[in-house]
Symmetry: C2
Subunit: 121 residues, 2 copies
């Protein structure tokens, strides 16, 4: 499919005698509902992936606290960001957005690590 072409070519404007490319109000509502269902499914998947991710980072946090390792790890983070930017580019996701998102998640993780470290001091 041509991604630069505005959407879903098969909505049923043709069936109701509309000019090609137009949709009826009902079609628009149905199409919007279809897309939103997909978005909701993806969001549920992401929430569950992130729940699993925090389980991993909680374990990292306990490991670091027990061995007096610093909560943040700039060289690891730099490698993660470079890798994610590349993955994003391959997946046609804005690499700048992927980087901002990872930083957002890492900030939360570091907060958790600090809490864990404070608790284990």
């Amino acid at each position: 499919m041509n991604t630069s072409h505005p959407d879903e070519p098969d909505v049923t404007g043709q069936a109701t005698g509309e000019t090609p490319g137009q949709t009826t109000g009902e079609d628009v509502t149905a199409e919007l509902a279809r897309l939103r269902d997909s978005i909701d499914n993806i969001d549920a998947a992401v929430v569950h992936m992130l729940a699993e991710r925090f389980k991993c980072t909680q374990q990292v946090g306990h490991l670091k606290a027990r061995h007096q390792l610093p909560p943040a790890d700039p060289s690891r983070e730099a490698r993660q960001i470079a890798r994610l930017r590349q993955l994003a580019e391959n997946a046609k996701l804005d690499p700048a957005f992927a980087e901002k998102l990872l930083n957002f998640i890492i900030a939360e993780v570091i907060r958790h690590h600090e809490t864990i470290a404070a608790g284990e001091e």
Copy 2:
């Protein structure tokens, strides 16, 4: 905490004289690597899910632009947030974090929608 502190830390220094139940420096390194591999796998999955999500929201953006619907939709967003908070709670992910994350993603989506709308005006 000193975030400017570089590592991977040399965890092997702590291998000696540890109390039972503690891991050796080598174990710590291996365990950290194992957890980080999982985190990297999850991040790759999330990047690909979000790439797919933006494909959906781009279609929503074109649909909205073509039918002069507003880029933002506060009632839809309120429903999404309530649902995601519930999903997060069930998955033992901090609901406040899930909400912040969704807002972060939605802000990006709305920027995209505005760009699309400007292009189709």
